[in-house]
């Protein structure tokens, strides 16, 4: 029994090798993803040359219903809808689903868009909470609002799917704003390949940008440090995380903030699950699982350039709640679809992405936090030397820094949306400083999310303190 004590040499040796092995594996994994993304971007970018030239519509563009679930969004909803109504796309409609907001979301909508009750027959193909009324805008013929009882974001999206008319639907967060050409770009893969069932776009941080009436006037960086760190985080997550997985045909996440899906496929799969907080990821993983099981040919794609801008939390409490919710969503999505893991027809999704997500994204925070605690304890108890501890800390921090800097480099190689030298300096600063405290704090929050999932704590809509920057 004495060998199991914290001071037993076997335990110390095991811990050292375990954390070292884990660290090497995670580094190799992320750097490989990064490398794949670099090559993918190199192949993708030349195709954009002709996009700078005005193009007429080909007539192949599939009609799209944009679904915007909204809960207590009175501050941002008007700007968000205005940006959606300005999109350049031949045929689309916008469906706002007010999920029983307690604030004045509904009043604001009525006032700004001239809503009138529209006695439309509504077919409940996906079961949802009661729909109270459907409204139509007197100012914009392609805008409808569904007012329903509170049932969560997934329930609101399902109601939106029920009311949608077109074969594709695009989910957009109520605090997000799409770039004018985003819808045109994100539907491109559907025109090119009939196997495509879902496409995800990039989400970027709108804090610090100048926005007026739903239009992005000037791109900028936020002054708030938390928001600045998230700018770098979003770049890392989207530019090389998802792009890399997309190339491998193993994309497990399409952000609910901006993703387009084929309606029939989602309906066949039963729509969004209402008992999870990560309904977007859960749907994507479930689609992989069911379609692979049915041996159907399909593709889910991520595109780096159709952009949606979203407001991120600037205070610790909201950010903490968001990260806890995301981590719970991740756990629910993976463990709810465990059949995909190493399944016979699992492909890259089941054999590479799923185990990677499970090991490094789902359990990663636990290993990281336990690692820090153990190393500190070993060091404190003089069980390992300070240099060993410092090497461990230095290695983890430099990996984080390397990944952040690589994503900045990718951004610089490709889109350089943040175009002032002060932006580059600001992002470099963010990429370095986030590794000293912020990243570790996020790991702790994610660990809390993991524990909450383990102990089955309930979680509703992620409420966010809004600045109304949109």
């Amino acid at each position: 029994m004495s060998e199991l004590n914290i001071d037993s040499p076997l335990f110390i040796r095991f811990s050292e090798w375990f954390f070292l092995g884990y660290f090497v594996a995670i580094s190799v994994g992320y750097l490989t993803l990064n490398l794949i993304s670099v090559f993918s971007l190199r192949a993708y970018l030349p195709n954009k040359v002709l996009e700078n030239i005005p193009q007429i519509y080909s007539g192949l563009e599939p009609p799209v219903s944009i679904l915007v679930p909204a809960y207590n969004e009175q501050l941002t909803i008007v700007a968000s809808i205005q940006s959606l109504l300005q999109l350049s796309y031949p045929l689309y409609d916008v469906i706002i689903v007010n999920d029983g907001s307690k604030d004045k979301t509904m009043e604001v909508l009525k006032e700004n868009f001239g809503l009138i009750p529209y006695p439309e027959a509504y077919r409940e193909l996906l079961k949802t909470k009661t729909v109270r009324a459907i409204y139509r805008s007197t100012q914009y013929s392609n805008l409808r609002v569904i007012d329903k009882e509170n049932g969560g974001k997934a329930d609101a999206l399902n109601a939106g799917i029920n009311a949608s008319h077109y074969p594709l639907f695009c989910s957009v967060d109520a605090d997000s704003m799409l770039q004018r050409n985003s819808l045109q770009r994100i539907t491109y893969p559907f025109m090119e390949d009939s196997r495509v069932i879902a496409v995800g776009g990039t989400v970027r941080v709108s804090n610090g940008c100048k926005v007026q009436d739903g239009s992005l006037l000037e791109i900028g960086l936020p002054k708030n440090m938390l928001a600045l760190f998230q700018v770098v985080e979003y770049l890392r997550a989207f530019l090389f995380g998802r792009l890399g997985w997309s190339v491998l045909d193993a994309l497990l996440i399409i952000s609910g903030a901006f993703g387009v899906f084929r309606k029939d496929v989602v309906m066949d799969a039963g729509g969004f699950r209402t008992d999870t907080v990560g309904e977007d990821m859960e749907l994507v993983v479930r689609l992989h699982r069911t379609l692979r099981k049915q041996k159907k040919a399909y593709r889910m794609v991520f595109l780096p350039d159709p952009v949606s801008w979203t407001e991120v939390p600037e205070d610790f409490k909201t950010l903490k709640n968001q990260r806890i919710r995301w981590q719970r969503g991740l756990c629910e999505s993976l463990f709810g679809n465990l059949d995909l893991l190493f399944s016979r027809n699992g492909g890259a999704a089941g054999w590479i992405a799923f185990p990677f997500m499970l090991l490094f994204e789902c359990l990663g925070p636990m290993v990281e936090v336990v690692g820090y605690i153990l190393m500190l304890a070993f060091c404190w108890l003089d069980l390992i030397s300070w240099p060993v501890f410092l090497v461990y800390t230095f290695a983890t921090i430099s990996l984080g820094m390397l990944l952040s800097l690589l994503s900045l480099l990718l951004e610089e190689m490709s889109f350089h949306i943040y175009n002032r030298p002060s932006h580059v300096i600001g992002m470099l600063f963010g990429a370095i400083v986030e590794n000293f405290g912020y990243r570790q704090l996020c790991s702790v929050w994610r660990l809390m999310g993991l524990l909450q999932w383990l102990f089955g704590k309930k979680h509703g809509w992620g409420e966010m303190k809004r600045k109304g920057s949109l």
Partner: protein, 319 residues
């Protein structure tokens, strides 16, 4: 890296401002001594020139074509096609196509063999613009071979091509489709882009034989003549909603009183899109008058059917 790119962007912006002014003066018919354009500015100039080409129509477009000659850019553009980087080659190929530069023909043939689908397709499009008849022998087989060419860009190329080229393409495609290649669906969709409003034997073949809903939809999109209606009616029992949508659309164009009962049955579909197209078809039929529609609304017990009828009537009234 960023500092260099900022300087380059600024310079490019300044040059474009000047070039825009030259082009506007030229289109307005003003006579002036054209300034010499430095090699490094040619790409920026061409971007602007193509932009103008896209937005202008008629005589101004002709004047714009002369601009390349006036600014002595043709040799530079040819050099770009031969020795330029990817972006330069692509833009230069686009420009020679728009300016119908016959001298660039052989240079474009070289680009046709490039590995990049975008490059080969841009070269093909330029060839079609320069000489549609001559290009048809070269480009039509390539459209069939190159399954990596983007359908949306191909459709645009075909829609904007000379009718002679479209006819040549259609003839070849009809032959290809008869061989039932594995990429049949792609070809059928392309036929839709060049359809010359005449019945095609292949629509009968697929409407009567195929089980693939995508292929049936593509075939239905090609139906344009009353003689093909019997094949459409043969698909009335198809349960696929996208097929039903297309049937409703076809009946809206060429349906007869005999088809009204089927359109009425489609009003009860669970799919909004089917109900919508069926209603549009019904209301648009020349032998259905307003009174008949009102009777139809009153007789409908299904709220969904009534709703969609009212919606389409309201939409039509707004037009």
């Amino acid at each position: 890296m960023r500092i260099f790119s900022i300087f380059a962007e600024r310079r490019s912006l300044n040059f474009r401002k000047k070039a825009e002014d030259w082009l506007i003066r030229l289109i307005a018919g003003e006579k002036f001594e054209p300034p010499k354009i430095a090699d490094r500015d040619v790409l920026d100039f061409l971007y602007l020139w193509i932009h103008f080409q896209e937005i202008l129509r008629g005589e101004s477009k002709q004047t714009l074509n002369q601009a390349l000659n006036l600014f002595a850019l043709e040799p530079k553009i040819h050099k770009m096609i031969i020795r330029g980087g990817f972006e330069e080659q692509l833009i230069a190929a686009t420009a020679v196509g728009r300016s119908v530069d016959k001298q660039a023909w052989d240079l474009l043939l070289v680009l046709l063999d490039k590995a990049s689908p975008l490059m080969s397709m841009t070269a093909a499009r330029a060839l079609v613009l320069i000489d549609p008849v001559k290009a048809s022998d070269i480009v039509v087989p390539l459209i069939i071979q190159h399954r990596d060419w983007m359908p949306s860009r191909l459709v645009l190329m075909l829609k904007l091509a000379d009718p002679l080229f479209r006819q040549a393409f259609l003839t070849r495609l009809e032959y290809e489709v008869q061989q039932s290649p594995p990429y049949l669906l792609r070809l059928m969709r392309l036929i839709g882009a060049v359809q010359l409003n005449r019945p095609l034997p292949l629509t009968e073949k697929f409407l009567t034989e195929s089980d693939d809903p995508n292929l049936v939809v593509a075939s239905l999109k090609l139906v344009c003549h009353p003689s093909e209606l019997e094949f459409v009616r043969g698909r009335f029992n198809d349960e696929n909603w996208s097929v039903q949508v297309q049937i409703a659309t076809v009946l809206g164009k060429i349906g007869t009183p005999q088809d009204v009962s089927h359109l009425l049955s489609l009003l009860n579909s669970k799919q909004w899109w089917v109900r919508y197209r069926a209603t549009q078809a019904l209301i648009g039929l020349p032998f259905i008058n307003r009174r008949a529609i009102n009777r139809l609304i009153e007789s409908r017990s299904d709220a969904f059917a009534r709703d969609i009828l009212l919606q389409v009537i309201a939409e039509n009234a707004r037009k």
